[in-house]
Symmetry: C2
Subunit: 206 residues, 2 copies
């Protein structure tokens, strides 16, 4: 069984403990007899997968989560299913934060992803078209434009996560998850979180 998580930038695959990502318009050929169980938040990229492989099963509807949240993305639901207690941060195209308590989803919020921040600054003014510097010093006030932007992005995301976490354990996933995890003591990075949640559900239901 091959698992796939279709996001807004990449398709992420999981097979026998191995994880990798592919671009939607450059998908590799998979073994024909291997069924792909997938979740998707992007219809266009979903069609790319369906066109390239005969045995695909959309399991969006099977990913159930106890929550009052209306419209929670299926990838967030899957990651939350993997964790009973803690804060799940998925840092990809967007940065989502979701709080789980005793297996119940308490709520969550959405920040832009790092690449979205970078594009946003360059849209405001060409002067602000700078890379986000991961090593910027977050404990002293910036003294130039590049640092002022990196500080503005990274510190605001980190303060938000700190404010949500308090004593709760943090679980990071997604492309920039590893990077953000290093700012927190009570953090675990696990890039298979969505797939662990999918597996947990599928083992019960399929």
């Amino acid at each position: 069984m091959l698992l796939c998580d279709i996001g807004n930038t990449f398709l992420h695959f999981y097979h026998k403990g191995r994880i990798w990502k592919e671009k939607p318009y450059a998908l590799t050929k998979k073994k024909e007899n291997l069924p792909i169980y997938y979740i998707s938040v992007n219809e266009r990229f979903e069609r790319c997968l369906l066109a390239s492989h005969p045995h695909c099963v959309n399991v969006n509807e099977h990913i159930e989560l106890q929550t009052q949240y209306v419209g929670l993305g299926v990838d967030r639901k899957a990651a939350c299913r993997a964790i009973d207690n803690g804060v799940i941060i998925d840092a990809g195209s967007a940065i989502t934060a979701d709080v789980m308590q005793e297996g119940v989803h308490i709520g969550g919020y959405i920040m832009p992803g790092l690449e979205a921040y970078r594009r946003m600054y360059s849209d405001i003014s060409p002067v602000l078209n700078r890379e986000i510097e991961p090593g910027v010093n977050l404990s002293i006030l910036p003294q130039n434009t590049a640092d002022a932007i990196s500080f503005g992005v990274l510190k605001s995301v980190i303060l938000m996560i700190k404010n949500t976490s308090r004593t709760k354990k943090l679980y990071f996933t997604g492309g920039d998850g590893k990077f953000f995890a290093r700012f927190f003591e009570n953090a675990i990075y696990d890039n298979t979180l969505v797939f662990k949640g999918m597996q947990k559900v599928l083992e019960k239901q399929i």
Copy 2:
């Protein structure tokens, strides 16, 4: 004497205590004999002003500020000149924060403006194309997409400003300055801050 602050969205004018903004390609005709002293961070919009009025004086170079910050925008410099002690937040196309202490600029940072955030979310995914809801409850975790976005934007900006301010007084200016000021006890909203700084400098130098 007419003052003008050319930003990345609007041209802001100041005359005899009155303040107003105009779009760069729809500038009204001003009295021909009235000189316009202006600062600018946008060359294209600066040319719009120069094309529409004969007596314009660029005073960018006169706006000096004691600082180690390299590349500080002239509008930020002008606003800082108006305040000797405190944090100056200019919430416009971008949200800038600058700390002044005994007339010296200590440093500052740049976050995206509210409109930039809104555009950015819709770029990530059409599902995230929502207005930022100013009344969102910031003390409970969101339970739907619109709140999750508004919470992500507003709370991250507010936590950053709180973290910078601590016991310092906050001075808000810019199009969204009034909105953000209401989240803080130690805050003053003054949409003439840039012009006050310009006046202070010009009275001395011209």
